[in-house]
């Protein structure tokens, strides 16, 4: 119960915080020019050479900035400023994360390895986990 409460509290706190792109959308004129950070967001559309869209908690955030070298599905970190007129982010810096898929593969391999080895170290007896060895 405590864990669930902590999770719900975190989700509510995150949503209530008056920062980020979602907050900028709620009051665009007041937030014009505010600095925004999008760490590890997914590229979902390439509109043209100078405009693309990224998604994570908010879908299809328009980013004004060079889309050179980007393709759909890439992971990027974008730093920029909110522009109220078209609700776009004017990117001042973009960091690409080309090693993100490799990192995911390594983590999946680790989970498979752990799953295969788990029965060697843990057993289920009378509804309880027992340490082996």
């Amino acid at each position: 119960m405590l864990l669930v409460g902590l999770g719900v509290h975190f989700a509510q706190t995150s949503e209530a915080r008056d920062v980020g792109y979602a907050a900028a959308l709620r009051s665009p004129d007041q937030r014009d020019g505010v600095r925004l950070l999008f760490p590890l967001w997914t590229v979902t559309h390439i509109r043209n050479a100078n405009m693309y869209e990224i998604s994570k908690t908010v879908l299809d955030v328009p980013v004004s900035g060079s889309s050179e070298g980007l393709k759909r599905g890439d992971t990027v970190t974008v730093m920029g400023h909110f522009r109220a007129s078209d609700k776009a982010v004017i990117a001042s810096q973009r960091v690409d994360h080309p090693l993100r898929p490799a990192k995911a593969i390594l983590s999946i391999l680790a989970l498979i390895f752990a799953g295969v080895l788990a029965p060697r170290f843990f057993a289920l007896t009378d509804g309880r986990l027992v340490l082996r060895g």
Binding site: G7, V8, F10, L99, R100, A102, L106, L111, A114, L131
Partner: protein, 160 residues
């Protein structure tokens, strides 16, 4: 988060230098923050971005399981699945593994989006910003081999 091979290997090396007991539990503890927090957040995030829009809470509700207070509660919850006689040892080893996990993650930099170490008491984020968020990819496999060699040596020492 660093990749889970690096996390697992780091946990084995830490355990090798600090006493070779309950190693599987310690390693499970080091994997747990990502298994219970990042994996569901990534899965719901993929569903949200590629399949059907979900409420934001579906992606953020898992985050406390990757923070000290949530980790402590998670270690306590997990140790309850074990028989009473080993619960104390399981709790501390799970928590120790989680601490190693967090220590490794704190080395990373996310351009200012750090870790909320004191949630729910504070919203201040922190990270050391010493390495990039994918830097571990290059040394995870050598580190895993080193951990394997060290583990075999410690295991044979314990047996002999």
């Amino acid at each position: 988060m660093a990749d889970l091979i690096t996390h697992g290997a780091a946990a084995i090396l830490v355990k090798a230098g600090s006493g070779w007991r309950h190693v599987p539990v310690f390693v499970a503890g080091t994997l747990a923050p990502d298994v219970f927090s990042r994996v569901p957040a990534i899965i719901t995030g993929l569903v949200h971005v590629h399949l059907v829009a979900l409420p934001t809470q579906a992606m953020t509700i898992w985050q406390p399981l990757h923070q000290p207070v949530g980790m402590t509660l998670l270690a306590y919850l997990l140790c309850l699945f074990f028989e009473v006689s080993v619960r104390r040892a399981v709790f501390w080893n799970l928590l120790g593994g989680m601490a190693v996990h967090l220590a490794l993650d704190l080395l990373q930099g996310h351009h200012g989006a750090g870790y909320l170490l004191a949630f729910p008491f504070s919203g201040v984020s922190f990270e050391l910003d010493l390495v990039g968020s994918e830097s571990t990819v290059w040394f995870s496999l050598p580190l895993a081999l080193l951990a394997l060699v060290v583990a075999r040596r410690r295991q044979s020492q314990a047996a002999g």
